[in-house]
Each structure stands twice: as structure tokens, then as C-alpha cells.
């Protein structure tokens, strides 16, 4: 049974909402960044730019994951699925690295930061492409998220820190769930709805981040 159109629209709306708020965070912080050229802010903004891109590309991966092979259109999607997986891996890895940089940028030399980030993201995406699997990306990003959580050692009790952690965790769960769907072949609608709930939680978290910083952006 193919996925219903309503389900696809729901997924599209969720993805667009996340992309919108990620874009809003990036756009609304531009004036302050242009005035200050503050490094942590630069990486903070980049993180949301890349996350927005990752969620946008992930929408296509989700549609593939919930579709059955049958029609010509599905075969076309099937053939470009590894490429979509690679792009999701590329953008999301860069987003996670930029979040790490925004809180720990002094730990790596400035001239090495961006080359290292892009190189790592490209290598991971290429591996994901050839192995046809978002699992690899999810595993590596889980390790990256754990490193970030450990890096966030601070006396400062910040709600934004908690939101960062939740955002990263839900991203990784969401990504891994796309592979699980294909592997386990459970009831598509049940799994889709679980996936949708994860997306809605991600929306709430990103809106929470936006509201947290928006008081400073007036």
C-alpha cells in the first residue's frame, strides 16, 4: 500500500515549518553578526542554516522511506536515494559541527575549523552514499552529539543548552528511524505517525530555541 497524499503533505508541512524557523534564526541574527563578527554567533547561525538545509533534503528521504517500489517515479526516487542520503548527511554533519564550534571554537585553530568541518562532512557523506545507509550517519552523529554534551560542561544552567541537546538527539533519532522503517517493514502508517510525532517534537524544540533568542533580536 502506498503512502497516502495526506501523510506526504503532513511531512512537507513539518519540514517547511522547521526550515522556516531555522531560516528565521539565521536571518534575524545577521545584523548583530555583521556588527560584531563574533565567532560563536557565526557558528550558531551556520548551524541553523545547515540544519534547515538538512531538514529540507530529508523530506525527500522520508517520502522515499515511506513509499513502496512500484511505479516509474518510485524507481527514479530509488536511484537518487543514496545521493539524497549523502546530502542529508553532509548538511546535518556540518550543522552539528557548527554547534560544537559555537560552544568550543577556541579548541581548534581558526584556519583549520572550516576545512576540517567540510572534509569530515564530505567523507561521511561519501561513505553514506556508497553504503546506501543513513545508519552510518546516525551512528557517527550520535558520537558527535555525545562529544558536544560532554563539551557543554559549564556552571551556567541554560535552557538553551538543554534545547540544543534535545534538538540534536531528536535529529539523530529521526534520521535513524528512516532506516528502521525500511529494514523492519512495520505497518507503514503506524511508523509514519511515530515519525511525525518526532518531527513535531523537533518543531517545538526549534521554536523554543527561536523564542529563547528572539527577545534579543528586536
Amino acid at each position: 500500500m502506498e503512502l497516502c497524499n495526506v501523510c506526504i503533505y503532513k511531512e512537507l508541512v513539518c519540514s517547511l515549518i522547521i526550515v522556516f524557523f531555522c531560516g528565521l534564526i539565521y536571518y534575524k541574527t545577521r545584523v548583530i553578526y555583521n556588527l560584531s563578527k563574533h565567532e560563536p554567533l557565526k557558528y550558531f547561525r551556520n548551524a541553523f542554516l545547515f540544519f534547515g538545509s538538512a531538514y529540507l533534503v530529508r523530506f525527500f528521504l522520508t517520502i522515499w522511506a515511506f513509499s513502496n517500489i512500484g511505479s516509474l517515479a518510485d524507481c527514479i526516487v530509488c536511484s537518487i536515494r543514496p545521493l539524497i542520503t549523502a546530502f542529508v548527511g553532509f548538511f546535518s554533519t556540518l550543522a552539528i559541527i557548527n554547534i560544537w564550534y559555537s560552544i568550543s571554537h577556541e579548541k581548534i585553530k581558526k584556519e583549520l575549523r572550516e576545512p576540517a568541518a567540510y572534509l569530515f562532512a564530505i567523507v561521511l557523506s561519501v561513505l553514506a552514499y556508497f553504503f546506501y545507509s543513513a545508519y552510518l550517519i546516525a551512528i557517527v552523529q550520535t558520537i558527535m552529539v555525545l562529544i558536544i554534551i560532554i563539551s557543554m560542561h559549564s556552571n551556567k544552567n541554560s535552557k538553551l543548552k538543554l534545547l540544543y541537546i534535545l534538538m540534536l538527539i531528536f535529529w539523530v533519532i529521526n534520521l535513524a528511524s528512516l532506516e528502521l522503517i525500511r529494514a523492519v517493514s512495520l505497518n507503514l502508517y503506524l511508523v509514519f505517525n511515530i515519525h511525525l510525532i518526532l518531527s513535531i517534537i523537533s518543531i517545538i524544540i526549534i521554536i523554543g530555541i527561536y523564542l529563547r533568542i528572539s527577545k534579543w533580536l528586536k
Binding site: L41, F44, S102, M152, S154, S158, R212, W216
Partner: protein
């Protein structure tokens, strides 16, 4: 007390603003309460990034004034510091 970079920039720009947006470099240096070397570093940074500009008037007298960007920095300073405090752990 050690002041951070943005606080010092804000202080220099505010001095210019409070001096009717026209001040010579020597009184600016004196009012900024910085060493000569530090002041020159910040001054060159602010000039290079167009927060302030130099105007040469009659008899080759050089005055320093704020640009629109300089005014915007003063206006957004508190917002800026609040945002940095929010995103840094």
C-alpha cells in the same frame, strides 16, 4: 578590571557620540582610559570596519565622527551582549 572587546569598542564609540559626534584623537584616547597601544589597535579596527571615520577640517585639523554603522553598534550593544550571553555556555 579587564574589559572585554565589545565593551571597549562601545565605550570608544559612546565617547565620540557624547562629544557631539566630533572629537580629536588625543582627547578620545585620554577619555577611553586605554594604553596607547591598545587604543591604537581598537581605533584602527573601528576605522577599518567603518564604525567611525576621520574628517579633516580647515587648518588640517582632524576630527573623528561616527558612521551609521557606529551609531547602530551603540544602539544594538545591549542586545548584542544579551544574545552572546544566551548562546555561549
Amino acid at each position: 578590571m579587564k574589559r572585554d572587546k565589545f565593551e571597549i569598542m562601545h565605550n570608544i564609540l559612546l565617547i565620540i557620540s557624547k562629544n557631539h559626534n566630533s572629537i580629536k584623537i588625543t582627547p578620545l584616547k585620554r577619555k577611553s582610559n586605554l594604553s596607547s597601544e591598545s587604543f591604537n589597535t581598537y581605533y584602527e579596527y573601528l576605522k577599518k570596519n567603518k564604525f567611525l571615520k576621520e574628517i579633516v577640517e580647515k587648518k588640517q585639523k582632524k576630527f573623528i565622527t561616527l558612521t551609521d554603522k557606529g551609531y547602530l553598534f551603540i544602539e544594538k550593544y545591549n542586545t548584542m551582549i544579551g544574545l552572546f550571553d544566551e548562546i555561549e555556555f
